[in-house]
């Protein structure tokens, strides 16, 4: 199910649709591809409405999650399929298949059957098959979902490089937020059939529009707060018994808001050190070492628990059970409308 989605994807961009499974991102992709028809609304491709154009005549191709390679055809015949449908001449097909296989670094494997290839290779065949007709838009439905982590990382950069080289518009569906942030020019976050936020990866990460986006992309601590005032740069809010400065547009005094704080933007200081603004009293409950740094849980005086990620050298203050202070800079907070 997809409801009231309004989205403009720019020519030549790498656009990701990101959301948990069942959020409607695949349905949206299938609507674009022409496998489903919208109950209302329009789909425009290069300015003209295509919602009544069948999938076979839309100038966009899809790379399926499980590749959907034709099991009875060789790799070369799979790749050639789109050209054969366009009745392209035989020698041109041969030449372009060879080019397409070279593009995805599968030279010489044309005679193999799909089942004789590894998952990563099958993935490349699917890519070559979809790209060979030079579609205006390439739709990719979780194309890396079936690969293991290492291979997935490799394919991510390869895909990104390929997209840059060809200049083809990529619409990429994934539930992996890291993947979406790493590859995309822009990301659209979906939940429950609705498009919640569209923006560049850093916008999505640093300025999530609501609690769902803040929690789904990366990790966030949430603090309930009430606006008590503002000056020319910052809002003054009250939360957990403290008065805090946060960067943001003016909001009426008295409004309840939610503050979203990224664990890696929090700092921990020994209790009593009061040089900084935005201090929250707490007690260090737990600290584990993860190699890339420390991961700590701090219980605030009101009982809520905050998570903080610290660089490995910051181990000086980390004595479990001790009283500490949490601090953060005013621009590092996202202010969300309170849901209720």
């Amino acid at each position: 199910m997809v409801r009231d989605v309004s989205l403009a994807i720019r020519e030549g961009e790498f656009f990701s649709l990101l959301g948990p499974s069942g959020c409607g991102k695949t349905t949206l992709l299938r609507l674009l591809a022409g496998f489903e028809s919208p109950t209302s609304g329009e789909i425009l491709l290069a300015g003209s409405g295509v919602q009544d154009v069948p999938a076979r005549r839309r100038d966009l191709n899809i790379v399926f999650q499980h590749y959907a390679l034709f099991p009875h055809l060789s790799v070369a015949r799979n790749v050639a399929f789109g050209l054969e449908m366009q009745k392209v001449a035989g020698d041109e097909i041969q030449r372009r298949v060879a080019d397409a296989l070279a593009l995805v670094r599968l030279q010489g494997l044309g005679a193999r059957m799909p089942r004789e290839l590894s998952g990563g290779q099958q993935q490349r065949v699917a890519l070559a098959r979809a790209l060979i007709t030079r579609p205006a838009v390439l739709l990719l439905d979780e194309p890396l979902g079936a690969l293991d982590l290492k291979l997935r990382r490799e394919m991510q950069s390869e895909l990104k490089a390929l997209q840059r080289r060809l200049g083809t518009t990529f619409v990429y569906v994934t539930h992996d937020q890291e993947e979406a942030l790493a590859m995309s020019d822009r990301v659209g976050v979906m939940h429950d059939g609705q498009l919640l936020q569209v923006g560049a990866p850093h916008e999505i990460y640093d300025r999530p529009v609501n609690r769902f986006v803040a929690a789904f992309i990366g990790e966030s601590n949430f603090l309930a707060a009430e606006v008590t005032g503002y000056d020319d740069r910052d809002l003054i809010v009250r939360s957990a018994g403290e008065s805090l400065r946060v960067r943001g547009e003016r909001i009426a005094i008295g409004r309840r808001v939610t503050l979203a704080l990224r664990p890696e933007r929090l700092r921990i200081m020994p209790a009593g050190d009061s040089v900084a603004v935005n201090l929250l009293d707490g007690r260090l409950r737990e600290c584990v070492y993860l190699g890339t740094g420390w991961r700590c849980e701090i219980e605030l005086v009101d009982g809520s628990v905050m998570r903080a990620s610290l660089p490995p050298q910051d181990s000086g203050v980390l004595s479990v059970g001790s009283r500490v202070m949490l601090t953060f800079a005013p621009p590092d907070v996202a202010i969300l409308e309170s849901d209720s």
Binding site: I62, F64, R129
Partner: protein, 268 residues
Amino acid sequence: MALDARAASRWLRLASWLAFGFLYLPVAVLVIFSFSASRYSMVWSGFTLQWYAALADNARVLSALMNSLIVAGGAMLISAVLGTAAALGLRRARFSGRGVLAALFYAPVVIPEIVLAIGLLMFFVLVMPVPLGLPSITLAHSVFGVAYVTIVVSARLEGFDAQLEEAAADLGATPWRVFLRVTLPLIWPGVLGGALLAFTLSFDDFVISYFVTGPGTATLPLVIYSMVKRGVTPEINALATLILLVSFAILALSIWLQGRNITAGEKV
């Protein structure tokens, strides 16, 4: 405990093989005595091929064989086309009433043969004037043939990835070319297996042919029936042996095809 279980499984095996023996006993008897020289007794009295030779001269048997082949061939063609269409349609159908429609395609297998037989007889006589004879028998056999092909092809389609068809459409194939280039190549063993099953079922059908045939037209099973009614002769043994041989061969081929896996690794 363990002994108990082992003894039980021994009994189970014994009972099962006895049941198989029961199923194939008449086959063995017919085959063996088709080569026996004795005319009347069930006693083995030397090997002979005379009953097979006699068959080759039996004009009635030969013309009935011709009729049977025509009927079975016609019923097979109708069944293969319509049954495959039904299976493809049922797979895609998402509307309410799909269950009722599916029941329509499976019901001819379950309904007592004789009910279908008299129904078709009256239908051809009273409602749809089809000449009683080869045309009526062929049409009648297509009824259960369509049902069987639908079942066999549906089973084949169960492991079929519909995304393959979407992929083909996405790459510019028209629905007809999607069918020819992707769907059919992947399901043809099922289609052929179902068609061969429809062929044997038609070739071996007695009850329905018996009712809907017209004067002067006989298929092989009808000829056998009248021979049996007149008395037991070793010639029937020879004919029965040949029929069983052909039926077994076609069925084995059909079953092999149904189990054959083109995609290798997707479906057992």
